[in-house]
């Protein structure tokens, strides 16, 4: 009994103020998306090890096996005239950098949406507070970008270490890779927000969208060297647009001005459409 009494005392040690006094409503609404991002980061930090090895592992493997291994073969055969006269490694590096960014971003914008709507239903818990659907979208995207920034920066450091990119191109390339990540991530977020059942959607996307995109976006050879009936995969893929921008910045691959402009526009449009659709669908599902 004595113990129970002391608990009661402690519980009531602070006076109940009531939410009218306690909650700054305007502030809560204004910063709602940041509170969502904060919550995501709190979870993410527990997984940083696997996130980094997942985010860097694959691209590093490609860097060694394809970039350095196959690169030696390509360069010694003297076929790199088609690559604009640069080493194969230099040709490949911008593609791998954009891929690393896209991987990190899309991973963070797919499974957390399943968790939020289906597994833990945490989005419904958030929505019981001042947080709205669009804040969830914004917070998820912001936290995904934090992960993308870390992964991309680390991977770029590795590329620099291997001399795959030039130091003075590093910063602009960093941003084009992030833009590619943002564009594809936002698209993935929109698609994920439509998933109503945990029925292997991501396995399908992985096999039939992400893998072909990786193979056919001018990643390993110039897009123009593919048959014309396959080139469209590159044209619609954010990876190709990001990669091409990276190549222009990295070693000055010649490109027409309108193509460069279309890269920027295309990636920005992807990001904008993805964000709009995701915000709308998430809000709809919360209110259903």
């Amino acid at each position: 009994m004595a113990e129970a009494a002391s608990i009661e005392q402690k519980v009531h040690k602070s006076a109940w103020q009531g939410s009218f006094k306690l909650v700054n409503v305007q502030r809560a609404i204004t910063f709602a998306w940041m509170h969502v991002a904060e919550a995501r980061l709190r979870t993410m930090i527990k997984w940083w090890g696997s996130m980094l090895s997942f985010g860097l592992g694959n691209p590093v493997l490609y860097l060694f096996s394809v970039g350095i291994g196959i690169g030696a073969l390509v360069d010694s055969n003297g076929t790199n005239g088609q690559l604009g006269g640069v080493s194969y490694l230099a040709f490949l590096a911008p593609a791998l950098l954009a891929t690393a960014a896209i991987q990190a971003c899309q991973d963070e914008l797919s499974f957390p949406i399943m968790e939020g709507f289906l597994w833990d239903k945490t989005f419904f818990a958030m929505n019981a507070t001042p947080i709205r659907g669009r804040d969830i979208m914004g917070g998820l995207l912001a936290s995904a970008m934090v992960r993308t920034i870390f992964t991309t920066a680390l991977y770029e450091a590795i590329l620099l270490l291997f001399g795959a990119i030039e130091l003075d191109a590093a910063l602009p390339m960093f941003f084009t890779a992030l833009l590619a990540g943002l564009a594809f991530g936002a698209g993935m977020m929109a698609a994920s927000s439509y998933v109503k059942e945990d029925d292997g959607f991501f396995a399908i996307v992985g096999r039939f969208v992400v893998a072909p995109m990786f193979m056919f976006s001018g990643t390993f050879y110039p897009l123009e060297s593919m048959p014309i009936y396959l080139q469209w995969i590159g044209w619609i893929s954010p990876l190709w647009h990001g990669t091409d921008l990276g190549r222009i910045l990295s070693y000055g691959q010649p490109q027409q001005a309108w193509v460069i402009a279309s890269h920027w526009v295309y990636l920005t449009v992807w990001a904008a459409i993805g964000m709009t659709l995701a915000a709308r669908k998430i809000s709809q599902r919360l209110a259903a």
Partner: protein
């Protein structure tokens, strides 16, 4: 918001309606919840309780009628209203990957509460939910009852003006239920308004000052538990059993006893002002029930009378 603190009506619904494509979940209901009241929504599955709760929680938009919460229209001011609500959903939606104390902290941040304030508040809530020793466990490692307590504690982090509990004690053991009732009673004393749905009639009798019984989207009855029992049931209920094969045939001979007789497959219920006297009458008519029981009429009798005994799936 300060002006609304003096406001007496926390929730006002007039002709409140929610229609989905081809089905009316809530069909034009009226009710008012006053400050400091414990208000109950009762009804069988599919009656429209949860839909009503979602509309009050300002997440689901009404399709007709009027609804005002804390003086505001939830269709327009959802986030502003939700800042002052505490919501305990039917299904726990904790973040399984976060630790117990992180779940409380993280949720408090959604209201924009400061880290400094939350540090103290989280400890207080851990004690409230008797989870202090489990503070560092992941939410997914908790037992069902503990998860429920954590969800309830989480709903209090912003010190809500209105606490909404959707079947709060489902899955709790009797000890935990009684502790929770005690805690809720204390919150009510502090002026918190409670809105509760429950399937447990004893819980509704214990907790609710006033309640509505819903069925098929409509309100069947409204009042305090005592008034509802007075209005829709008798003072006492006499339950007699003659064996399942004889109940129906004996019922003929019970005519005129009590206010109302209900024949069930396993027993006969006689709604009565004086059960003992009616039992004597039965015995003097030469009928000898296998078992007999006189009990006080309860909210459950009211509920079953209003919403029927047929199962709703």
């Amino acid at each position: 918001m300060n002006s609304s603190m003096s406001m007496q009506n926390m929730i006002e619904a007039k002709g409140l309606t929610k229609k989905y494509a081809d089905f009316v979940a809530v069909d034009g209901i009226d009710f008012v919840v006053k400050r400091g009241e414990a208000f109950g929504l009762l009804g069988p599955n599919g009656a429209g309780k949860s839909t009503t709760m979602k509309m009050i929680a300002s997440v689901s938009k009404r399709t007709g009628g009027e609804l005002t919460i804390l003086g505001k229209d939830p269709n327009k001011y959802g986030p502003e209203i939700r800042a002052h609500l505490g919501v305990v959903p039917q299904q726990d939606n904790l973040d399984r990957e976060l630790k117990v104390h992180e779940n409380l902290f993280s949720y408090g941040r959604f209201f924009g509460l400061s880290r400094k304030f939350l540090k103290g508040k989280v400890e207080e809530l851990l004690e409230f939910a008797q989870l202090t020793e489990k503070r560092n466990s992941k939410a997914e490692e908790l037992s069902g009852g503990m998860k429920r307590r954590l969800t309830i504690a989480r709903g209090l982090v912003n010190e809500p003006e209105i606490l909404m509990l959707d079947e709060p004690t489902t899955g709790l053991d009797p000890q935990a239920r009684h502790i929770l009732w005690d805690r809720l009673f204390r919150l009510k004393e502090q002026g918190v308004t409670l809105v509760i749905t429950t399937h447990y009639m004893d819980e509704a009798e214990q907790l609710c000052d006033r309640l509505i019984v819903m069925d098929k989207g409509k309100i069947m009855a409204e009042g305090s538990p005592a008034n509802l029992i007075r209005e829709y049931s008798s003072k006492e209920v006499l339950e007699v059993r003659f064996g399942s094969s004889r109940n129906a045939e004996v019922a003929e001979q019970l005519k005129g006893i009590g206010d109302r007789i209900e024949i069930l497959p396993d027993r006969i219920l006689i709604y009565s002002e004086n059960g003992e006297a009616d039992l004597r009458t039965i015995l003097t008519r030469g009928l000898d029930p296998v078992t007999s029981l006189v009990r006080r009429s309860s909210l459950e009798d009211v509920f079953l009378r209003l919403t029927g005994r047929t199962l709703v799936e």
